[in-house]
Amino acid sequence: MIETRNINFYYGDFHAIKNISIAIKPNTITAFIGPSGCGKSTFLRLFNRMNDLIENTRLEGECLIDGKNIYEKSTDVDALRKRVGMVFQKPNPFPKTIFENVAYGLRVNDMGDKHFIKQRVEESLQAAALWDEVKDKLQKSAYELSGGQQQRLCIARALAVAPSVILMDEPASALDPISTSKIEELVHELKQHYTIVIVTHNMQQAARVSDNTGFFMHGELVEYSDTKKMFLNPDKESTQNYITGRFG
């Protein structure tokens, strides 16, 4: 369960997120759509405090995950990020072997012994639908994989530490259509066990994979509702315009 209450976010003087309140149910897929620069990625990155890494930013309001405000001083940010996994726009495997990429989160969080790690790596790769393709080359560099495989590896890497939420920041935007459809299938599969929030530029993708959709514009959440309703019968005119491609 993710909930934000009157969140405002600033890059210096720039007001990037304007007073957004939203509630995301567990085990659902929520898509954020909107034109470039509308703040959807920034909003997504609030959920695992990735925006902390950017200097000269400011936040107002509350962001609750499982009922606790993650922006409280007492929050263990590393533990939070373990619970809230993230997949980035461009595949970004580490310069390590395929095995070590997936094992990374387990190692840095001291989770389990050698045997457990091995088992977990296999499970994660299977969950990311990559196991059959890489099981014979686990000790090869992750960069020997294709772009789509690398992105699934990044998903496996995120899954390995057993998060409850997975944030995906345009996970298929750098991939070809076949890889994209594989990722979409995967996202659909993962819904059973994880709460997924996905930012996308691709309207069809949002319509295909998500249960709920939020439409962002100029840092505001214009509309947030059931995906079917959003695409068939949106409340706001600007949503209608964006979805039908009249701007953006």
Binding site: E55, R81, F94, P95, K96, T97, N109, A142, A158
Partner: protein, 404 residues
């Protein structure tokens, strides 16, 4: 339009040829320098052990036919005084130098331009079986009862494994490079032990922890330090470090290997920091974010992701650091005391290879064994740096999972 195109094509071609030409010239120059170094150096092993232009002569009846450099040295140092000790007949060794001839024979007896000297010397040696004469070849004694000792050429083992560097000793110079090689290695290794952790630490601090403001202030200052001429560093070392080390460690002299190492570390630091910091900062933001997003702490991210990613850049920093340390001449020469003896501790005066070349090449007669020995020292230095570069290359290539 057509004209413009032709001109552009000519320009392109000219640039291409110029680049090829300069590349070829550089390559040829490097090969030429290397060949020159090694041929000059290798000529040393064709030189006799005895000082150039001189030879040792004995009575023809003397059973000794040759003397090793060590034996010769001991005889001339009066440590061996009897022929018996080196396998000859019983009898005190009488050393005879060319100067002694002038006390035996008045100058007017020697004729014009000492034309009669060889004959007189021959007579003199014939009179005494125990005589050992060290004479210029120019005045080689004449007579049937005189023989020259067989002089061997300088052996590679004497050079590379020799423990004494006395290039101007007479009658036999010693070109043992061990003290110089060990001195160089000692000073450089200790310098690196000091400089590497510090340099990498500062580089990591600058690239990962420092705020933008701090970095903008510190980076140019550090890079400025890299540009200070080494003689200025040497001066600083001589005036500040040497007395400080002498006092704080209660040493008889402050000019020690350790002083040199410390100064070299200070000199190598800016290069190491600057290059390593650039490499660390080149690690893509996506790598850091991916690691942090997995719940890794900042330190885990640094040593598990950022440093491995920057490995080849860091090894470049190390190589440049070692290169600076091992090849540095002036500053080291000014603070290490330059005693060409086998180093036993780091608080002892040592002499490095570059310092030896710089100090002695000016007074070594061109083409002589001393001159060649110095060239060979240059070759050793060359081989050292080559080994370091190659091993750094291997280390940075090994287990590198970076994108190709």
């Amino acid at each position: 339009m057509q004209k413009k195109k032709i001109i552009r094509r000519i320009l392109d071609k000219t640039t291409e040829y110029l680049l090829t030409f300069s590349g070829a010239i550089t390559g040829i120059a490097i090969v030429f320098i290397t060949i020159f170094l090694f041929t000059e150096g290798a000529a040393l092993f064709k030189s006799p052990e005895v000082e150039q232009g001189y030879e040792l002569y004995v009575h023809a009846q003397n059973p000794i036919n040759t003397l090793s450099p060590a034996e010769t040295k001991k005889i001339f140092d009066s440590e061996i005084t009897n022929w018996k000790d080196i396998g000859g007949k019983d009898g005190e060794i009488k050393i005879f130098r060319i100067d002694d001839a002038f006390s035996v024979y008045p100058e007017d007896e020697l004729g014009e331009n000492y034309a009669l000297l060889p004959q007189k010397l021959g007579e003199l040696i014939a009179q005494d079986e125990n005589i050992l004469a060290f004479l210029p070849k120019q005045y080689a004694p004449i007579g049937s009862s005189v023989k020259a000792l067989v002089s061997h050429n300088i052996q590679p083992s004497d050079y590379f494994l020799g423990k004494e560097w006395m290039p101007t000793a007479t009658p036999v110079p010693f070109f043992g490079v061990m003290p110089l090689v060990l001195g160089t290695l000692l000073v450089s290794i200790v310098a690196l032990i000091i400089a590497l952790p510090l340099g990498l630490g500062v580089a990591i601090y600058l690239s990962e922890l420092a705020s933008e403001k701090q970095r903008r202030l510190l980076k140019p200052v550090i890079e400025l330090l890299a540009g200070i001429p080494s003689v200025v560093y040497g001066f600083f070392g001589l005036v500040v470090l040497v007395p400080a080390i002498q006092k704080s460690l209660h040493l008889p002299v402050g000019e020690t290997a350790f002083t040199g190492s410390l100064l070299l570390a200070i000199m190598a630091l800016p290069t190491i920091i600057s290059v390593a910091e650039d490499a660390l900062r080149n690690t893509p933001r996506a790598m850091r974010e991916a690691s942090l997003a997995m719940g890794a702490t900042q330190w885990q991210t640094i040593y598990r992701v950022v440093v491995p990613y920057a490995k080849s850049g860091i090894s470049a920093a190390v190589v440049l650091g070692i290169g600076r340390a091992i090849g540095e001449t002036m500053a080291v020469m000014m603070v290490t005391g330059n005693a060409a003896v086998m180093p036993h501790s780091i608080f002892q005066s040592v002499r490095t290879i570059p310092a030896t070349i710089a100090a002695e090449l000016g007074e070594a007669p061109a083409g002589g064994p001393h001159y060649q020995a110095l060239f060979l020292l240059g070759c050793i230095l060359f081989v050292f740096t080559m080994i370091i570069s190659i091993s750094a290359e291997i280390i940075s290539k090994k287990k590198n999972y970076k994108p190709h």
